[in-house]
Chain length 346, copies 4
Amino acid sequence: MFFASDNSGPAHPTVMQALADVNTGYMPSYGADLVMQRVKARLRDIFEAPNAEIRLVATGTAANALALATMTQPFETVFCSPVAHIHEDECNAPEFYMGGAKLTLVGDGDRIAPDALRRAIKAEGNRGVHGPQRGPLSITTVTERGTVYSVAEIETLCGIAAQYGLPVHLDGARFANAMEALGCTPAEMTWKAGVDAVSFGGTKNGCMGVEAVIFFDPDKAWEFELRRKRGGHLFSKHRYLSAQMEAYLADDLWRDLAQTANARAAYLEKGLHSIGAGFLWPREANMIFATLPRRAHQRLHDAGAMYHLWDGELDGPQDDALGCRLVCDWSITEAQIDRFIEIAKG
Amino acid sequence: MFFASDNSGPAHPTVMQALADVNTGYMPSYGADLVMQRVKARLRDIFEAPNAEIRLVATGTAANALALATMTQPFETVFCSPVAHIHEDECNAPEFYMGGAKLTLVGDGDRIAPDALRRAIKAEGNRGVHGPQRGPLSITTVTERGTVYSVAEIETLCGIAAQYGLPVHLDGARFANAMEALGCTPAEMTWKAGVDAVSFGGTKNGCMGVEAVIFFDPDKAWEFELRRKRGGHLFSKHRYLSAQMEAYLADDLWRDLAQTANARAAYLEKGLHSIGAGFLWPREANMIFATLPRRAHQRLHDAGAMYHLWDGELDGPQDDALGCRLVCDWSITEAQIDRFIEIAKG
Amino acid sequence: MFFASDNSGPAHPTVMQALADVNTGYMPSYGADLVMQRVKARLRDIFEAPNAEIRLVATGTAANALALATMTQPFETVFCSPVAHIHEDECNAPEFYMGGAKLTLVGDGDRIAPDALRRAIKAEGNRGVHGPQRGPLSITTVTERGTVYSVAEIETLCGIAAQYGLPVHLDGARFANAMEALGCTPAEMTWKAGVDAVSFGGTKNGCMGVEAVIFFDPDKAWEFELRRKRGGHLFSKHRYLSAQMEAYLADDLWRDLAQTANARAAYLEKGLHSIGAGFLWPREANMIFATLPRRAHQRLHDAGAMYHLWDGELDGPQDDALGCRLVCDWSITEAQIDRFIEIAKG
Amino acid sequence: MFFASDNSGPAHPTVMQALADVNTGYMPSYGADLVMQRVKARLRDIFEAPNAEIRLVATGTAANALALATMTQPFETVFCSPVAHIHEDECNAPEFYMGGAKLTLVGDGDRIAPDALRRAIKAEGNRGVHGPQRGPLSITTVTERGTVYSVAEIETLCGIAAQYGLPVHLDGARFANAMEALGCTPAEMTWKAGVDAVSFGGTKNGCMGVEAVIFFDPDKAWEFELRRKRGGHLFSKHRYLSAQMEAYLADDLWRDLAQTANARAAYLEKGLHSIGAGFLWPREANMIFATLPRRAHQRLHDAGAMYHLWDGELDGPQDDALGCRLVCDWSITEAQIDRFIEIAKG
């Protein structure tokens, strides 16, 4: 009963097999492996973006921080949600990689509203040389609250950024889960809507540790490459990143795993509904923010269920509702979910 | 015939098997996996350092830059060789992670001589607030020229650093190869000689991508951990770093692989001697810097042999000697070496 | 009629005379001038802090950013008001000097409330290595909204910071104005209340360009000195900073000028009251945030009055109230204020 | 007898008078003062560069570090002399402002030789993404050894840089002294020779503390302006920087003072010759590197003469020659020099 994160489960066997398969003989280092050539071609095809440039790194924080550093001057500020991973969960990595640029927090959490973005951009622009200059917009989907921007919402936000000449970064640590939730194409979610660069996640969706950074403007690639090396994120034995990504993309594995994860979350949601749980945000992909009586959490905890409580602790009145975050990865089974619900029910 | 680098060969099957074995069920993320606990215990045992703190990263550049950043203030300078990997091959990663500290280049290449170190440290100390302040000494062994510091040499350099209160970092991307060349213990090469922190390499010696950073003063570990996260080098699915390192250390695999690599290099050296090659530096571990007539390089190139020319190009007078760097990893076979020599001989 | 800022007026003649007086013969450079020795002694005396260490810089941004950089690790976050000068008006200087640390914005503007500070500190502490670590509290008084923290308020905020082991920085660009408003001693406003470091402003209160950074813990001084040099803020002809500060402190000039500026603001406040102006925040020192009908602003503008409109523009309904910021420095005369009111009245 | 530096003397009375003159009434802050408009026009005229953009800062380190930061990416390296002020005397300020870029040291000191520059640029270009990328050339004239690049030498070096597409920065802390030594125009020494940006010093030549940074490509100015603000180097009461520079440029004061300083150094050189001193480098502007018997230094020291010994200490064999650096500013008198020589003679 592991619902703590989609990074606590195993990698998919197909990905592991690809690692074993690529482990023969000699290959050029540092990204010059032939596997990487195939990965590039495949991602360009998937994104309908024949000129896109793609680089691989091993962590989501590296993908985000390096992409933003390539898009942002140190005297600028990035517009993002106050609950964005880049703000709350990367220990100042974006600020570090951007050389001391700032993050401007827009809205109250969840998806950024167009009006809030407009106000924030306007507010940052009225101080001349004294205030930070306007930099990129960075959005996350699936958001850190489990919701998903519609394509129209992405288009609207990108349109606002474009009015001010600002580029757009998309943190897609759960890209596949968002896309499957929307039923759209990768291109519709990104460059067709106005996104300039994507952190395209693999780690949370069945890989061991690999993320692709995609620039639809290929001119950014060389600077990114230098920043990646300078950040210590260029792998000498790069074939092992390439092989993961190749296996992930082959035969729509990435989409299948995301569909499974989303479906499991829907199944869990149904179970939670059936026992009268509350919901802090709507379930739209593979994350659920639910409330249960504290005594239910206690029972689950005693039974070894793993997940994060949300804004509260086990100690307290047993009948009071207490929030929690439940994440389903591709590997969680319906049987585990059934057991979770059974214990929660009491 | 791959002699380009010890990072172009495959990972050892035992390491790959460990990845497959660890790929079951759920595990806490971000270094809290139980495998990491065993890795720490094992490294403490191997280094006879029960209080040492250990963290894993995936690249050597990350290990070096993060270790140095933890040891260096941004207004200081690190003393290192002009051919040090941290100076020549990390695209300013140390300067980036150290927040703009400097590297002071000592000597002319190969091992740092005690007198040169003394002069360099003295020279950096005579400007008060105007010049950079003295920071750590960083040495590499196996050096970037294939030679190995004796334990006595390490002791001498650390002693000089200690006279000035400066800590010492050891870039051990090829730690095992150096240690096997010397026939000493890990402790003798490091803390017993005065080394404070070690980048302990796995990637070049049979792993897929893992390096341990070892601090003999455990008080440094928390700052390192924060810097690792801030650098995007904390793996969510950390078990796959731990498992590599565990397999690498088990049953002396790390030592066996280094012995094999060194032995293959000795075998190659013998072959080169037999055909009248010259040597730019003595072969002491698994790297050889040799000279061959340009026509021999041409033949090898035509036959598909992979290695770096040293200070020159294929075009030119065919009888002239031209340098090259040849690196043996654990996987290179005597048959491949025989063929290399045969072709070189012509 | 210059109310744009207390940095648009002239320096006090006494300060200018001191510059002329010190301009004879040769003096040691870089802070080793004897004048600086006297400045240190005088500030230690004024602050009843015999061990305090003091350094001079020429701008308030330098004072703040260097002080914070000395107190903050790059993986930490500084707690400050969302309208703090360090956040809104220094073009990311603190982030730059701190090596990419973050600012956490507390409250809604004006003075930081104790509860808001407690909540903010708690919220930053629940993510382990993933979130930024808690760093210093930085408060500004006179605040950017013209209000002044009482000594008790400073004590309370410092007490909260102390509970979490966090140091406190005070941005005292208008230190003298705040102190005169409170009628307390420098010590009461600072170290006795729990403040660790102060940016003690001279520029806005009659100097040409000089700020003192005061560390009550003298151990911080050497690091500050190196950071000052590294920031390009160590003056070779340092005597001209020292002489300004010496003149500023002599015969209570600094207090007299602040009293004058505050009194002029009170006089202006009275005039504004008399013509029915509104007030956005209470006038407590030398800054006023008032509202006047747009037609009054238009008349003032046409007459050449200089000040900042607040959250609005001249164009619009002429009867509507529109905010403005009015700052009095020591040099503004009652006659100028009378004229301002007369024109505003219409 | 102050020969320690041209920053230990007083400012010229004309400059001080200008400060007094500008100290009346109110002026826009942050560089919007009218005086600055006149300074810009004057410098464009002097440099025959009607499109040049000019900004003022208060220290030479700020001028150099900010100019280089505007010209250099953090993954690049700046080519400079091993004795360059930016390398030896700025406590890592360039590295700090450039975000961790490197300095590549070219040659053995004094002026950079064309061949050495070519070799250095070539050597930095052979590592692809692994090594630092080639960045600007930075030259200093008057050099830190008192010598002066000829116009032809500057042209040659700039030509080499241009072959590789690298911009050129000139550290002109002693610009006027160099120009007067050459007898050329400002344009000949700079943009006509291929220089892109100049740190044009005032502080060492009669000002209190002001340097102009001149970009011949005006597109760089806005980025520089943001970096200046972010570095805390934008003065609120900017008129006092403008006034110094205006007085410095008016009526060729800057040239007169440099001629005087150079002439005094020539007079001192003659005196030193007359008593048999040796010379470490030829005297070409206002700095002399001479050798005298240690007993002469002892006598001078006892008589209160102030200057830096060069590579040695007073203690030692009294007959041995010991080097020293002697700098003449505009204010040193022939009488002081006569006395110096007399004492040195013994």
